[in-house]
Amino acid sequence: MTGDSDFKLDINGRTRRFDVPATTTLLTLLRDELNVTSPKRGCNQGVCGACTVEVDGWPVRACLTLAAGCAGKPVRTIEGAGDALTGALQRSFVALGAVQCGFCTSGMLISARDLLRRVPRPTIEQVQAALSGNICRCTGYRKIVDAVLAAAEECAP
């Protein structure tokens, strides 16, 4: 329906060229073109948070982000995360049982890491607010919040 656009994207540190329809979302590009599957397609409406990734240092909804608009802005998913903070969050999610079906987990990790980078010692209310756009349909919120607080405890300066 819409003309193709030709652009280059830096995804998890690797730059590749794409030629896809202009309405292609970042989520479709990641999952269907690149097999980068940590961002999940839940609602495709920006509500559920399962597709949350980082673009230009900020968490965004991959399902609402046009891939062509990310040219020149680094795209980072959990696959590309090798930092200590993400590692601490991942260990803490596992240790405290904050993963049930796992569908929301990648998005939770991106949102939680963004919070801990900006607020190294968050209150429980700050964790809840930061994760308010990430829905867990197993409703395992309590353990997720506990896991973020535990990771903060481990990593805070």
Binding site: T2, G3, G49, C63, L64, G69, A129
Partner: protein, 266 residues
């Protein structure tokens, strides 16, 4: 390009338009990204002492700008309760108001703040007061080929202001919302959102309210008047009857809180 390609759509943050494309509600013939136009981004002071919020300014930036204080604080408060932190990284003020969702947070806040919307199109530029910009359900004063360039706010005046939203859960669209300003000089401005096609405001009645917030009967009559002007819808969030009962209580509570804040400050 917007003017020349029929059915071309400008795209701002994508929070609404891409969701509509995903749901197959719209099939734009072309998308024109407004990203990267310097004039559309950021918040700056104006020669008149007010603030100019570029249309592409994200809700996150608006929510945290310290210049949105006193009589302008309600604009930052409205930005801070839109959706959730991730969507606030994406959505823009221009994109939000151009959609004119009556349950969105900016329309009533901008009406109460006496904002003016700067729009540009093939025939030039013009400024539209917020109260005239929102025309009907999902309809603005924008003409074919026009886009929102910026939102202009008058200089902050000493006083208090706030944005209160009743919603089912944090980040949901409003069942009802009240944006209100009480200036130290006594002037009061109120706009109710989520309860009809456009924000509800009654400038003539506001004039009668100036300096009289301590008189419960006067405030009650004012709040009841706004409810009478409302034509709310019934939707999944609440019935029209419920909204009509909410409006006067929400307006009275909001004005009561602002009066209390002024006393504390004094």
């Amino acid at each position: 390009m917007l003017a020349n390609v029929p059915e071309a759509r400008p795209i701002a943050g994508g929070a609404t338009l891409v969701a509509m494309i995903n749901a197959d509600l719209v099939r734009p013939a072309a998308l024109v990204s407004l990203d990267g136009i310097a004039e559309l981004s950021g918040i700056s002071g104006t020669a008149a002492g007010g603030l100019r919020i570029g249309a592409m300014t994200r809700h996150r930036e608006t929510a945290s700008d310290p210049r949105l204080a006193d009589s302008l604080r309600l604009v930052a408060e409205a930005a801070a309760v839109i959706a959730n932190p991730v969507v606030r990284n994406m959505g823009t003020m221009g994109g939000s108001i151009a959609f004119s969702d009556p349950c969105a947070d900016y329309p009533s806040a901008l009406v109460a703040a006496r904002a003016e919307i700067e729009v540009a199109g093939p025939t030039g530029r013009r400024r539209v007061p917020a109260a005239e910009f929102f025309v009907d359900w999902y309809t603005t004063a924008l003409e074919e080929g026009e886009i929102v360039v910026a939102i202009h706010l008058p200089p902050a005046v000493a006083g208090v202001s706030t944005y209160r939203k009743i919603a089912r859960t944090a980040g949901d669209f409003a069942i009802a919302a009240c944006a209100a300003v009480v200036e130290d000089g006594g002037a009061v401005r109120v706009a109710v959102g989520g309860c009809g096609p456009v924000p509800i405001a009654d400038p003539a009645a506001e004039a009668g309210l100036a300096g009289r917030l301590a008189e419960p009967g006067v405030v009650r009559a004012f709040a009841a008047g706004l409810a009478e002007m409302a034509d709310p819808m019934s939707d999944v969030r609440g019935s029209a009857a419920y909204r009509l009962r909410l409006i006067p209580r929400l307006v009275e509570a909001t004005l009561g809180d602002l009066a209390g804040m002024r006393e504390q400050a004094a």
